[in-house]
Amino acid sequence: MKLLLYIGSRTVSMLLTLLVVSALIFLIINLPPGDYLTNQLAELRATGQEAGVAKAEFLRHEYALDQPLWRQYLIWLGAAPGPHGFNGLLQGQFGWSFEFSAPVSEIVGEALWLTILLNLSTIVFVYVMALTLGVIAAVKARSWIDYTTAFIGYLGLATPNFLLALILFYYGHKYLDLPIGGLMAPEFENEPMSFEKARSILAHLIIPTFVVGTAGAAAMMQRLRASLLDELSRPYVETAIAKGMPPARMLVKYPLRAALNPFVADIGTLLPAMISGSVLVSVVLGLQTIGPALLTALKTQDQFLAAFILVFVAFLTLIGTLVSDVLLAMLDPRIRIGEKRK
């Protein structure tokens, strides 16, 4: 019951955060003077295409771009009636992309799922890598395994994601025959899901997952190693060993459990960084996630598309944090009874 209450209150605060974030994002998107249509209008006027001017003026009115900013935001959100009544985010209408002359939902449709897929696979990768390597590094502290993992970890933190992407991409293709470019073979694009398509997507996921996940896995591994080392030097570990408990069982049963809390809590900081990374890597590797669309939208001031993608990205992060909070509450009863965590 307490847990349900906790989940409820966290969900409410998440939605409030999302609301503030969406306002912030809308403001940032509208920081540059003018909008997509005013730019087009200026161009049309300069070349004397009066018909085009009339059309653009009509579109400006149609999408409420002639309204004050706060009203534009409310209309976009779906909290105020626009020229066509309530049809904003709350009603499931994501707006219109001027650059692509299509509804936003159509442009980002499949990309949303692929983005979620990429981030999910990265999370799995990060946890598996960090858990195994972190435990090994802590148990075999100050051995060559420890130093090698630490070194690779540091390199992973220091190499810009996009460069790692380019390099792995090149060598992965040359020596391992991993597929290049995109998230699936070209013949599967816009095809319905099938077994072949799923396999093609999985093969294409290997390099991006590795690239996006390395830095996060490295940081997380180091933290798990540190907290596990702390636990390993406690007297209860010595007691357990003295009693003749097999080391592997002892490790999993006591110190690892105690060291796992910060590991789960970390996802809140890990997720924003990973989503940032996935946007960047998608642009470099030409993955059909929302990354490339975001870049185009930002460069052309295609405001509804850009704003929607940014809100979606923030939404993903918040959902991830919510899940990690709930997991943590299940792991650690102190949190769900409302006791402050130190």
Binding site: T17, V20, V21, L24, I25, I28, I29, L31, P32, P33, Y154, L155, L157, A158, T159, P160, N161, F162, L163, L166, I167, F169, Y170, I180, G268, T269, L271, P272, A273, I275, S276, G277, V279, L280, V283, V284, L294, L295, L298, K299, Q301, A306, I309, L310, V313, A314, T317, L318, T321
Partner: protein, 384 residues
């Protein structure tokens, strides 16, 4: 009661000079806290090397024009995508002054690439302290003297040349000026904001604290890069390189402060109840004075350590933004701008040296991380 030589009175059973000697007279005990910290830092070999390396880099920044053989945007139309040239000292078994073999390029139309051949019969000695492209020393003193230049009728591209025939080595040196300072400006802004918000939240508490906490949570929950992209897309395209540079550093700093503010706030919470703060309050010191004179100095060094650990993310941030074409723009030269040219797989495959700017990025970021870790360990010996 016995009186000791140094004026202390001790009970006879407490008169154990050898014990006092071990407690008080070790050389460690006579050192100040700062000296102790410095000493622990110096024992961290890797951190020390990194610190010296970074210091050297920053000290050399004003002299870049002198060290680089070419200007950052000097084009050499006849040597496009020239490979790196080695500086030799042996020719025909004899020892020479440092020289290069002249190279000449040919367009390979079958594979659409440039092929270069070195003429190993005609070594050309480098010139030293020679006149070359004009530059301004430290941005102030106009000069034309370079440490070394290419021989009269050939080139010296230590790390090759790029698609416009510009020297990659010189450009990396010039790029360091922006890439290394963008982090410093960014961290200054981030520290200013972080200390300000963290301090008022931690000192005053209550509603103000609650509001700032929520703000921090919101900012930390948004992925940085997309927001950076959105903000830098808002930088007007007609701005000059200097304005863009500052705009980008401000953008990098604007999103970085929440972590720092959180740390400052936590420290303030624990320090606020200390006796010395209450004493200062009772003597009528204003909050701003208490914060600046009594609270902040307590963890100045921690702030420096966490700043050192945040700089890498700023350097990487600038690189990513410039790489995507939304950060610094040509003719400004930074490592990210240079890598923007190396975006395509084909160019990395045929002309791998165009991706060379990644090396300084990795090295500098590693150095900052090692130095920051070393600083943190030196400040908190208990936590290692």
């Amino acid at each position: 009661m016995i009186r000791l030589d140094d004026g202390r009175y001790v009970a006879p059973e407490d008169d154990r000079p050898e014990e006092f000697a071990t407690l008080a007279d070790t050389p460690e005990a006579r050192l100040s806290l700062h000296r102790l910290t410095l000493r622990r830092f110096a024992r961290h070999r890797l951190a020390m090397i990194s610190a010296i390396f970074l210091l050297t880099c920053y000290l050399l920044l004003p002299l870049v024009g002198f060290i680089a053989p070419y200007g950052p945007n000097t084009r050499n139309a006849e040597h496009i995508f020239a490979p790196p040239q080695l500086i030799h000292i042996f020719h025909d078994g004899g020892l020479n002054a440092p020289f290069v073999y002249p190279i000449s390029g040919e367009a390979n139309l079958a594979e659409y690439r440039w092929d270069y051949t070195a003429d190993t019969d005609a070594p050309q000695s480098l010139r030293w302290f020679c006149p070359g492209d004009p530059y301004k020393l430290a941005g102030l003193i106009p000069s034309q003297t370079h440490l070394f230049c290419a021989p009269d009728d050939t080139t010296v591209f230590l790390w090759g040349s790029d698609r416009l025939g510009r020297d990659v080595f010189s450009r990396i040196l010039y790029g360091a000026q922006l890439s290394l300072t963008v982090g410093l400006v960014g961290i200054a802004i981030s520290m200013g904001l972080g200390i300000f918000f963290g301090a008022i939240a931690g000192y005053f508490g209550g509603g103000l604290d609650y509001a700032i906490q929520r703000l921090i949570e919101i900012l930390r929950s948004i992925p940085e890069l997309p927001l950076w992209l959105a903000l830098s897309a808002a930088v007007p395209s007609h701005w000059g390189p200097v304005s863009v540079f500052f705009a980008i550093s401000i953008i990098l700093g604007l999103l970085d402060w929440p972590g720092l503010a959180r740390a400052v706030r936590a420290k303030f919470f624990s320090l606020r109840e200390e006796d010395f703060v209450q004493a200062a309050e009772m003597m009528g010191a204003k909050p701003s004075r208490i914060i600046r004179r009594h609270l902040l100095p307590n963890f100045r060094s921690h702030l420096i350590a966490s700043a050192a650990l945040s700089i890498p993310s700023m350097i990487l941030g600038e690189t990513a933004l410039s790489f995507l074409g939304l950060g610094l723009r040509a003719p400004a030269v930074s490592w990210g701008v240079m890598l923007n040219d190396a975006q395509h797989l084909s160019s990395i495959e045929i002309y791998p040296w165009t991706a060379l700017p990644m090396l300084p990025i990795i090295i500098v970021v590693l150095a900052f991380s090692f130095m920051g870790d070393g600083l943190r360990d030196a400040l908190d010996p208990s936590e290692t």
